[in-house]
């Protein structure tokens, strides 16, 4: 006789079927309209250029460098006669709504043990004001932080050339991303703290930093490991169809499918992780856990 596992990953897989309808639309839209570029693509391109003996230059700062890091997807090509950025903006609206839904569901499930969805607008109203400041802060911080990273890469390109430049900039990028995700996971308990205890954003943020600071390696290493594993899997999915068995026309399909699964995982994992960890650190009683008698 024992309690069920308290981990967030277990929670996601156990309640997968309940969480799926809430986040399937935003993750599908993200897979289509979020920029395909990423730092991985940038470094692959740079490695190719260096291998062929070319010269790396960042003459156009945005297109050559910053667009690989930025979350904002500014594309000039139009879909159905409308600029792509409007689709991107609409995706983010849907994303925030989906996250609010998932967050409310997870919170209610953990507090009350019920699987009911409830009214759409009431759910949205319940968690929008708690979730939005955190997401907005993290978005702005990501943009500014990657801007700093791009400046550092330009400075390194002045100092070093060739493979030394590649190694240096890869190292700097890893450091910057680690610092960002450490900060991200320090404040990740802010929304549940605002929801459960009714603090304002500032107090909730400092309480969250205090809680995660007490369990620093537990929370931070979990987030970092999840980032690393999911990025590695996405990278493998990018490489596989080129190398092995599929003809060229399936490249896009595999990529979109992989990115869909990637975003789906993150949209399910983030609310579950924050609420489960909040319940664990503050020793709140979880109503969704059942006692297993036979195992």
């Amino acid at each position: 006789m024992r309690l069920q596992s308290k981990s967030a990953t277990y929670y996601v897989f156990k309640n997968f079927i309940y969480l799926l309808p809430l986040v399937v639309l935003p993750s599908l839209m993200l897979a289509f309209f979020q920029s395909e570029k990423g730092p991985v693509v940038l470094f692959i391109n740079m490695a190719n250029i260096i291998k062929s003996g070319g010269q790396i230059s960042f003459a156009h700062f945005y297109t050559d460098l910053y667009s690989f890091f930025s979350l904002v997807n500014i594309k000039s090509d139009a879909v159905l006669g409308i600029n792509a950025i409007w689709f991107w903006l609409f995706t983010y609206v849907v994303l925030i709504i989906g996250l609010c839904m998932a967050f409310t569901f997870v919170e209610r499930h953990i507090k009350l043990g019920t699987h009911r969805y409830g009214n759409f607008f009431k759910n949205l109203n319940e968690s929008f004001l708690f979730l939005f400041p955190y997401l907005f802060l993290m978005f702005v911080l990501y943009q500014v932080w990657t801007l700093l990273l791009c400046g550092a890469i330009v400075l390194i390109s002045i100092i070093a050339q060739g493979w030394a430049f590649f190694a240096f900039s890869l190292f700097i990028t890893l450091i910057f991303y680690t610092a960002y995700f450490v900060f991200f996971s320090l404040l990740i308990l802010t929304p549940p703290s605002m929801y459960f205890d009714g603090y304002r954003f500032g107090f909730a943020a400092s309480y969250s930093a205090q809680l995660t600071g007490a369990h620093f390696f537990d929370s931070v290493i979990r987030i970092l490991a999840t980032v690393l594993i999911s990025q590695a899997l996405l990278f493998l999915c990018r490489l596989l169809p080129q190398q092995f068995w599929l003809p060229d026309m399936y490249d896009n399909v595999v990529l979109i499918l992989a990115r869909f699964l990637f975003y789906l995982w993150w949209l399910m994992f983030l609310p579950s992780f924050s609420v489960c960890k909040y319940a664990e650190y503050t020793e709140t009683k979880r109503a969704d856990l059942k006692i297993k008698i036979f195992d």
Partner: protein, 314 residues
Amino acid sequence: MHAKKTFLLIGNNYTTHLKSLLLQILAICFIVAIFGLFFFNFGNLIVKAIEKEGLVRKTQELISYLVNWNSADQTEFSQKILSYIDSISQSLSTIPNFNVKLATAIWSTIIAGYAVYFLVGLSVFPTFFSVNQFMTTNSKPFYLWSVIKKSVDSMRMMALRALINLIMDWCCLFLTLGAYLITFVNLGMTGIIISLLIWAALVSARSAMLAYWLPVNINETSKTRQAFKSGIIYMLDDFWNLFLKSFIVITITSLVAFSIIFLFQPLVVLILTMLLISLSSYVLNCIYFVNYYELKGKPYFVKKVTVTYSDDNA
């Protein structure tokens, strides 16, 4: 003159300075990125014009000429310097639509200069808040915490301090350049060293004038202008003491920087000079803090003290 105490303070808080160096590098990255986003095109034009006129090569020629100095050819040297200054203005005028872009260029240079002074200087206040904490309580606060907690105070102070420093630094530079071109240009190497000393004296005078602003702002009042006034009043009591110390530090720094020019590549020289400037400003501020505490007659710590209880003479 409290030299031992100052050296102990500098050595014991050196890790704080290293952390502030990281912040300064981040600030420089930020400026580069912002300029990359908005003004990269104009920057590329300037770089191309400099390459076309061969300014870097001419600078290296001038330096190698200085190294192999011969006192016989003084008039030739002054000719060379005048042609060098001429080629700078020549390279600027080769930029297309220069007259149209001149106003934009001047304004963006002023804004960029102010941004450099402001953003790089933002790390000074938290660093010396931490050092001051060490001097009063013998314990170092968590650096990132002091950065976040003191960010508003730091910005309020730096907005004014960056402006004053920028204007006074440019004034010092132009005064020295004018004096050199009018008076010492025919003296060759001697003239350069004399004008370097004049520059050091001017800069150390401006550094000594603002010396007590930071300690007063941290210790006595959080109002910037109030702190500026009381800092000036305290400064008048021992201006020459401060001036002498600043002059020694700045002269040594500038001589080291001057000798570095002959040794390395231009890029390495730039990086090393920036590190030197950061280090010397840290040393200067440490000297001012020790002087401030001595002036006010307050007790202070300069090294880690551990108190132990012994049973023998209890």
